[in-house]
């Protein structure tokens, strides 16, 4: 028998039918019918945030760490506009979140009513798709479609804008949740083109200086195992983008580390010198390629991506393959395996050995661990690299790590080795400061028994620190590591390198709070660390049984003068990098 439910109840019921566990939200006038429906049920837990932007990042953290869409509920007007940064963040990194925004009633739309904003219009450039509910009976179908679109093909965020009258508790409808979606205009590729795949495999086996370059698509597309299988069979080097870390085991010998603007010397050199680049689930972002006209001059490019629009957008693909990476890589693995079975000599092992010889030399001479640079900072100050390495040791490399944006993010990406996908969670595409803490909260909700660390900078942390209150309310045992350099470090680094050291509005040394006291005022545990000698002890307490159930905030005061290296030289090729502090140098890219 079908039930009679109001629009608000149908919405919540549909979310239940999608298996939603958490809704991250914040109430307001237009959303009150929906909130009443939330109140009357137990299956979905609503998490009351302190700012709607944080709710979107929580949903995003939940989605990135599980692969399932994260759900947000906000009121109209300011509630909706506060969600925009989170939508844009999810859009740039192709993550599935669903933002349900309440809207003023249909009859007053367009009249500049109190708290009216054209949410569908405002969000349009940063969503995969959006819906405006016209009448309540559309709600189940729209929710069904929204979840399907958000998580299929190239995933992305969806907005569902719901006018208050369509959630009226006094009007009820037959509730019937659709089992399938039929969208004639949307059918993401389900497999790659067989001929192209065979061509790609043939090119791979002929390569003498190959590099496998993969991004977030491998993580999102659940293709890490297949990637690893292919790399092992071929014995070729692998590099990951900032978004792709964990897609290939970070501690593996074949792994060259991250590539791009702050990528490792060996990864960037290998890309530049390659004769074949096998790109999968990556999009040749400008932070990777540096100047596209000087990109890998000798390389043939194979490019696998679910999104045809990502292919040949920046760098022309010689062998384009549109399809889900997991399917395509599975097929490639099968063909490679069969070819090697038939003739193990198909690969030019001598050439590959020589190639590894060059890569190992790059790694030895200029890799992240090549010198003593990171042993001590100016005047013995603690270095950020030390802190990340201490976190890595204390968590045995098994934590979920979220990050914010800045130097600390790059240090985390360089020095924490991720062996599994979905463990490294950061805003790569939009570069949203303030992402780290709420994202960590979303991850912790999804994985209540796992260790979740947020590696942040004091600038980024202050953009969403109100969520310490939410953490208190829900007893989230997140470990926050604040790399406190008393500055907008990444901005300051660029000013050091490009603007003669004029630190225009990138420092605020005398205006910072006592972070330890701040965190404690929310009922959390906090430490301040100034000396590298104290690090391992504090980390052991933080990540050990002692504080298993506590949120711990570590305010790590680090050398304020440290820079992130390598750093790509503006306008150059991938081989053009600054490797260490060179006074007077000012040819670095201009946009932060």
């Amino acid at each position: 028998m079908t039930e009679r439910l109001s629009g608000g109840e149908m919405l919540i019921r549909a979310l239940q039918d999608e298996g939603v566990e958490y809704v991250f939200g914040y109430p307001g006038g237009a959303a009150l019918h929906i909130y009443d429906a939330v109140f009357k049920q137990q299956r979905i837990e609503h998490i009351l945030v302190r700012h709607e932007q944080a709710a979107t990042h929580m949903a995003d953290g939940y989605a990135r760490s599980t692969g399932k869409p994260g759900v947000v509920l906000v009121t109209s007007g300011p509630g909706a506009t506060n969600a925009i940064t989170g939508l844009a963040t999810a859009f740039m990194d192709s993550t599935p979140i669903i933002v349900i925004s309440a809207q003023v009633p249909n009859e007053v739309i367009g009249t500049d009513a109190f708290q009216e904003t054209d949410m569908v219009g405002v969000s349009r450039p940063v969503v995969k798709h959006s819906y405006m509910v016209k009448s309540a009976d559309e709600i189940p179908r729209i929710v069904k479609e929204a979840f399907y679109i958000a998580s299929s093909g190239r995933p992305g965020p969806i907005v569902i804008d719901i006018p208050k009258d369509t959630t009226d508790p006094n009007e009820t409808f037959d509730y019937d949740y659709p089992e399938t979606v039929s969208l004639r205009s949307y059918s993401p590729a389900t497999r790659g083109h067989g001929g192209q795949i065979r061509k790609a495999v043939a090119a791979l086996m002929r390569a003498k200086r190959p590099v496998i370059y993969t991004g977030g698509g491998i993580v999102q597309g659940e293709a890490g195992d297949m990637l690893t299988a292919i790399a092992r069979m071929l014995g070729y080097p692998v590099t990951n983008t900032l978004m792709g870390l964990g897609g290939y085991p970070g501690t593996d010998r074949q792994f060259l580390g991250m590539l791009g603007m702050h990528g490792t010397f060996e990864a960037n050199m290998a890309m530049h010198e390659a004769d074949l680049i096998f790109a999968a689930g990556a999009r040749f972002d400008d932070r990777v390629t540096n100047n596209p006209t000087k990109f890998a001059p000798d390389a043939k490019v194979i490019h696998v991506d679910i999104d045809p629009a990502a292919i040949s957008k920046i760098v022309n693909a010689d062998i384009p393959i549109v399809g889900p990476v997991s399917e395509v890589l599975t097929e490639m693995a099968r063909l490679i395996d069969a070819a090697l079975e038939e003739d193990p000599e198909r690969i030019d092992r001598a050439a590959i050995d020589a190639w590894w010889g060059r890569i190992d030399r790059w790694r030895r001479t200029h890799g992240l661990d090549h010198d003593q640079r990171h042993r001590a900072g100016t005047n013995g100050a603690m270095l950020p690299q030390h802190v990340i390495q201490a976190v890595y040791r204390a968590t045995q490399g098994e934590a979920y790590v979220t990050s914010d944006v800045g130097q600390h993010q790059m240090f985390a990406a360089q020095y924490y080795k991720f062996d599994a996908p979905r463990r490294w969670i950061n805003s790569g595409g939009l570069g949203t400061m303030g992402f780290g803490l709420p994202a960590a909260m979303g991850v912790q909700f999804a994985h209540p028994h796992d260790t979740v660390a947020c590696i942040t900078g004091e600038g980024s942390f202050m953009m969403n620190m109100q969520e310490l209150s939410t953490c208190m309310q829900y007893a989230l045992p997140i470990k926050i590591v604040n790399l406190n350099n008393q500055a907008l470090g990444m901005v300051k680094q660029w000013q050091d390198m490009q603007y003669g050291g004029r630190h225009s509005h990138s420092t605020y040394r005398d205006a910072l709070p006592d972070f330890k006291a701040l965190a404690e005022s929310f009922g959390h545990v906090a430490y301040r660390v100034d000396d590298v000698g104290e690090l391992d002890g504090v980390m052991a307490d933080t990540f050990g049984p002692k504080h298993k159930d506590d949120l711990v905030f570590i305010d790590a005061h680090i050398d304020p003068d440290e820079h992130v290296y390598p750093m790509a030289i503006k306008g150059g090729s991938m081989a053009d990098m600054v490797l260490e502090r060179e006074p007077g140098r000012d040819d670095i890219r201009e946009d932060v």
């Binding site: 405006m132 969208l183 957008k313």
Partner: protein
């Protein structure tokens, strides 16, 4: 390169704004745009004229296809096709100019669809160049107002754009 794209679109509120928004967002130009429902009222057909090299058109096409409500995109300029545009021109028609305006309209096989003591409104249909030529040919005749529909297009022969 001048490119004429035909787009089949779900006939839904907001669908057109996504197409137009895409062009603005990605820094592509819209030269002309026409849109109306097709014989199947659930579908709208857009004809969109834009300029760009092959790479750019490829990107535009891919991004259009990414929009959920876009059902199909075809570049009509890839093959044989017919283009038509309709134009209404209001010209001053007094004294000697009155006869001259009529004559020009006849030469271009236009129709005078409205007239007053002082003005003619000429309707003209054809490829855009013909409409341009008419404007140029009007010479001394005073043009009071011009409205053009933008280009509509269809493939020649058996080729059809449908679901």
């Amino acid at each position: 390169m001048r490119r004429l794209l035909a787009i089949l679109l779900e006939n839904e509120a907001g669908a057109l704004s996504r197409v137009v928004g895409l062009f603005a967002q990605r820094n592509y130009n819209i030269e002309t745009l026409t849109v109306a429902p097709t014989e199947d009222s659930t579908l709208s057909r857009v004809t969109l004229l834009t300029y760009g090299d092959a790479d750019r058109i490829e990107q535009i096409t891919k991004h259009l296809n990414r929009l959920i409500e876009v059902v199909k995109v075809v570049d009509l300029t890839d093959g044989d096709h017919i283009e038509r545009e309709i134009m209404l021109v209001k010209v001053r028609a007094v004294g000697e100019g009155r006869a001259e305006a009529k004559r020009m309209s006849d030469i271009f096989r236009g129709q005078i669809v409205d007239m007053t003591a002082d003005a003619y409104t000429v309707q003209l249909t054809g490829p855009s160049e013909k409409l341009d030529a008419f404007i140029a040919a009007l010479g001394d005749t005073t043009i009071l107002e011009v409205v053009r529909s933008g280009v509509s297009g269809i493939g020649r022969g058996e080729k059809i754009l449908s679901l």
